[in-house]
């Protein structure tokens, strides 16, 4: 892609990430995952799709369609929710500083 896409490609590379959600201690249930955007690195703030949290909602997915529901607090999901965010190498994160022995990713249920 040509020069006009340079800034967009750089922004995409620097902010793109993948988010996975799983249930603590229940690997047999697999994980749910989606893409996301890193809004800020300090502090690390990520915006991603909300669909992967549906199985973890204490009140069930009906909470999403409650009248006037514009937001739900983080504790709307069960305590067993475990989240992981993964992203690629960036100029601001030298490879030597990366933690290479972290939690492995699950494959999504097919």
């Amino acid at each position: 892609m040509g020069r006009p896409w340079g800034p967009a490609m750089k922004a995409a590379e620097q902010t793109g990430c993948v988010v996975s959600a799983s249930r603590a201690g229940r690997p047999e249930e697999g994980s749910w995952s989606c893409s996301g955007v890193i809004l800020s690195r300090s502090p690390g703030l990520v915006l991603c799709h909300g669909g992967i949290f549906t199985p973890f909602l204490r009140a069930g997915s009906g909470a999403l369609t409650a009248p006037g529901a514009a937001f739900l607090p983080g504790d709307s999901c069960g305590d067993d929710l475990r989240l992981h965010v993964q992203w690629g190498p960036t100029a601001v994160s030298p490879a030597g500083r990366a933690e290479r022995n972290g939690v492995g990713l699950c494959t999504p249920q097919c």
Binding site: A11, T15, C34, V37, G44, L45, V46, H49, F53
Partner: protein, 459 residues
């Protein structure tokens, strides 16, 4: 079939960060987005629309379908917990702040770059941050549509603009849209600017001590002091008009201020009254009459509508003289949404020019074309010149499958002399000749094989 877990893939040369634990701060939605979803997709034809990341016919429980529909338009704000190194050193990583495009700053037809990870966390070595290009096809408030191809798992991925450079425009809400069990080829997006406003408000409400977090959310380009960045976009993006003839509707394009070309199957009867609506000025409607429609035997599916008054403000495109296979093209039309939304823009290339006796008689493009786009214009994306009139997409009668990305247009070079003659003299003679196209042209438009001379008998 989805991807199967297999042996670890070879990294593609860029080591990934190890997954970092994160905490859910809040789930948020954009009420305006949800309102537009309800208006556009859950009306009379609600049962026709699906947004699942699985194909129609796949075995999916009703609960799963319902959950996915409920989650449409919901996003999540997470806080990544500092890694061991950061905690030790007391500092987290720093990078350039993300620029956010204000709502409405990116015009229809503007190029977009979608970045997501197909299949989510499956094989990030291979799929992380896969790019896809397209244009902003349509917009209704914060509900945006792009023709950039996105796959399941890219939900939540960022969509960036070339102008403002590298600005984050939207997040993928639903990568696959199905209407009447057919893949539409458009991806549903939620504009990010209103989402971030909602996030700031929610953070202040839920976590009064989180002012710092809210302040770290990226600002919109041009905010707070400057006026919002505005790009008028390509003029041809507003060139299509909606043509209503009785209960039938389709698209059209003005070839003169008082003359609109559409398809015969949109306005089939000469003398019939037709209502033409343009998006500029907003919701303008002008009555007209069909002055010419090709006969059913003609391969050229064309009708001409003369309006009672001129279309004001609607650009009249310049027709081309020749065609360049492979050039970037755009289709503008009222496909998919009709009057409920303004015209949609889809992008692609001129994939084929079919000739008969060295004369172009059919154009093919890779733009996504849907029901309701018939009669709409096919433009050269670079020059804005009019290449042709969209006549149809492709359907396999054996399987019933429709292919939006293979579609056929009537070259404007076929119509231009006759239209010019009619504009100049009011004489329909040139247009009537379209009823008598040569047999090879009819063969092309019937998608038949060219006629070969039968072998002569030796008897």
């Amino acid at each position: 079939a989805g991807p199967e877990p297999g042996p670890p893939a070879l990294p593609r040369g860029r080591p990934l960060q190890a997954p970092r634990p994160a905490r859910l701060l809040l789930l948020l939605s954009c009420p305006a987005f949800r309102a537009h979803v309800a208006r556009l997709f859950r009306g009379e034809a609600a049962e026709q629309w699906r947004f699942e990341s699985w194909a129609p016919g796949d075995e999916v429980s009703e609960d799963e379908e319902e959950d996915q529909l409920r989650a449409l338009g919901w996003f999540a704000l997470l806080r990544v917990l500092p890694g061991e190194a950061e905690a030790r050193e007391g500092a987290e990583e720093r990078g350039a702040p993300v620029a956010v495009a204000p709502l409405g700053a990116v015009p229809k037809g503007a190029p977009l770059l979608a970045c997501g990870s197909p299949f989510g966390a499956f094989c990030p070595d291979i799929f992380l941050n896969t790019l896809s290009r397209g244009v902003l096809s349509n917009a209704a408030g914060p509900l945006l549509l792009t023709d950039a191809r996105c796959l399941p798992g890219t939900e939540g991925g960022g969509v960036f603009a070339a102008r403002p450079p590298g600005a984050l425009v939207a997040l993928v809400a639903a990568p696959l849209c199905w209407k009447a069990r057919e893949w539409v080829g458009l991806t549903l997006l939620c504009a990010v600017a209103p989402l971030l406003r909602a996030a700031r408000a929610a953070l202040g409400h839920l976590h009064p001590d989180s002012a710092d977090l809210a302040a770290r959310l990226p600002q919109e380009v041009g905010a707070p002091r400057d006026l919002p960045f505005q790009d008028p976009g390509p003029p041809w993006a507003t060139a299509a008009v909606l043509v209503e003839c009785g209960t039938v509707w389709g698209s059209g394009v003005a070839v003169a201020p008082h003359l609109v070309v559409t398809c015969r199957h949109v306005a089939p009867r000469e003398g019939a009254r037709v209502l033409v609506r343009s998006s500029i000025p907003k919701s303008a409607a002008i009555w007209g009459r069909v002055v010419f429609a090709t006969q059913a035997v003609s391969p050229y599916d064309i009708a001409v509508v003369r309006l009672q008054e001129d279309l004001a403000g609607v650009p009249v495109p310049v027709p081309v003289d020749r065609f360049q296979e492979g050039e970037a093209v755009s289709v503008v039309g009222f496909g998919v949404f009709g009057q409920a939304c303004g015209p949609s823009v889809t992008s692609g290339i001129l994939s084929a020019v079919v000739h008969v006796d060295d004369t172009p008689v059919m154009l093919q493009s890779t733009c996504a074309v849907h029901g309701g786009s018939s009669g709409g214009p096919l433009f050269s994306t670079c020059s804005g010149a009019l290449l042709g009139i969209v006549a149809s997409n492709t359907r396999d009668n054996n399987t019933g499958a429709t292919y939006p990305h293979l579609n056929f247009s009537i070259p404007i070079t076929v119509l231009r002399p006759a239209l010019q003659r009619y504009c100049r003299t009011g004489d329909l003679g040139g247009l009537r000749k379209l009823d008598h196209a040569a047999q090879p042209v009819q063969v092309v438009w019937r998608l038949q094989r060219p006629l070969v001379e039968p072998p002569r008998s030796k008897l």
